[in-house]
Assembly symmetry: C2
Homo-oligomer: 335 residues x 2
């Protein structure tokens, strides 16, 4: 089983990306990784650890300053485009992992790989913790699709449900529509038109939920247009960081609080593990593409990259795309 | 100076509302409060403390189950409608305070009081803490106006800036547009069309900001349509609650953490005071109405109601509505 990795995407590339690939290969006996990027640099980092690792040279890099579509078109030797070409042309490669610029990863997926038949727009669905132990929530879309139509949100719901059911092994994830109130008739025009579509879709639709329900543990898959979804996602992450920052500063400024802190090691470790959104994070697949594309955060490290590669394997083994295709097909039968 | 109060609006009405009025009157020598609601009940709570408190009997109550516009039309004897009639007809009454259903308070303001000339839609602008000491942020709109046009957001920005500058005595509050990225050209159609309007407005516009900047202390006034604004506001509040809930549970489940907690009284008191969004909260004025209307949360208590009444006085003394009118006028001059 082969996964292609953009070794020069992300703030910590290439070291963390290459090391992440090494970790993944060590941990998965049947895995082979193809690393795309400057060959000499990659070899330098690998220091001979080349078992089940192939290098494909790519001299160029796409950065945040590049216009996404332009970059895919005019930087054919960039690590990302070379990786996409491999994903496109080689049947034995099951997926691609990149921590490069979101826009370019998206543009590349659409231009090089294409969408699953019937899916209007691919979407990103990052994972967040909730206040309930062991219960995470995903938001789809979270910023890939800014202006949306009801049909887009219906597809997000189907894809999010299939994705969540695989990664958490949960048969009927609870899917909710982000809204400004819980009542059925609430919402802006988009939400109002989307509601009946979700109600009739082959998912466990639990109705409208507010932003305040996002981390409550009552929702598995929150469906939103990319603009409101991005506001919710970033607002939530920012609020978590703000509370922890206030807490830290307060502890530092009171002598007895500092003393108390010494006793609370376990609690602060738990907090870090529970709410640190990025720790061990596998990134998010670009749901709705013909082949698996997993995007990790620009600031991700080797553990994140390993997780991304392993998630690609898991999604492949559990037939994510086939499930999405079936859900879409069952829709057309209904109509 | 007279303020009219809907004594039967809110979950804790009438006791907390009436007691809040008593606190406000005690604390402000020139204040008179008019309480609207069931006279016998109010008298029972007042137990003779009637100095500078007038009671106007209103036998009916508007609840969350009432359709807002219908309720204003067909419940003329409700405490809210009676209060609005007093605000409308009596020149010596400077403002109204209610913790009743948001929809009804909004509908009453528009139907009974009317908008400031040139303002397309009144808006609610609740206050949240940031991670920076002493620096709060407001979001406008937060859910009163679900489908918006660029002109609405321009008005929100002007009103929010005027409001913030009064309550925090800050000359040029930093106004930002909620967006899915910081770059000027980012956004959904609404945000893209709004950006140039804000750039040319007589405010301190600092550009696009993401949801993650909301509690950063870098923004004073966050401008958004009511749908995305609501997602951000509720998501932020929910995340704060979730982190604190995880923290509490973790402390309870580890012996040494419980010991540490005993030393950290000051820190936990600080956290509660800083992030408990509702504590001492004055609610939010319905910005853009011809007369001052301050809406508090349904679950507010006497301290909140006192704060709402005192905020009404402060906004009146600092000529909020006149400032808004001037900002609108300066716009038309430009066009």
């Amino acid at each position: 089983m082969k996964v292609v990795v953009d070794a020069f995407g992300g703030d910590n590339a290439p070291v963390e990306i290459v090391e992440g690939a090494v970790l993944a290969v060590k941990n998965n006996k049947n895995l082979e990784v193809i690393l795309c990027g400057k060959e000499d640099k990659i070899k330098e980092i690998l220091r001979g650890r080349t078992e089940r690792i192939e290098i494909v040279d790519a001299s160029d890099v796409i950065t945040n300053d590049d216009a996404p579509t332009e970059a895919i078109r005019h930087k054919p030797n960039s690590s990302l485009v070379v990786a996409y070409d491999i994903l496109k042309t080689r049947d034995d490669v099951i997926g691609l992992v990149s921590a490069g610029p979101t826009g370019a990863v998206l543009a590349g997926a659409i231009m090089k790989i294409g969408r699953i038949k019937g899916i209007s727009r691919p979407a990103l669905a990052p994972i967040l913790p909730t206040k309930v132990d062991g219960s995470d929530v995903i938001i789809i879309d979270s910023g890939a699709n800014i202006d949306c139509k009801p049909i887009n949100l219906l597809h997000f719901a189907l894809m999010g449900s299939a994705y969540y059911s695989i990664i958490y092994n949960k048969k009927e994830p609870r899917v909710a529509l982000l809204n400004n109130g819980a009542e059925d008739e609430k919402g802006n025009e988009l939400a109002k038109e989307t509601f009946p579509l979700l109600k009739n879709a082959p998912i466990n639709f639990i109705g409208n939920k507010e932003g305040g329900d996002f981390m409550s543990g009552d929702v598995d898959v929150m469906v939103a247009d990319g603009f409101a979804g991005n506001a919710l996602l970033k607002g939530t992450e920012g609020a978590v960081k703000a509370v922890i920052s206030i807490l830290k500063r307060s502890i530092k400024s009171h002598f007895w609080s500092k003393v108390g802190y010494l006793f609370m090691g376990k609690t602060f470790k738990e907090i870090r593990e529970r709410v640190d959104v990025q720790r061990k994070h596998a990134g998010s697949p670009l749901l709705g593409c013909k082949k698996l594309v997993v995007k990790n955060h620009g600031s991700c490290d080797r553990v994140n990259i390993q997780a991304s590669i392993e998630q690609t394997i898991k999604l492949h083994n559990n037939n994510l795309n086939q499930r999405i295709e079936e859900a879409i097909a069952s829709l057309s039968e209904k109509i």
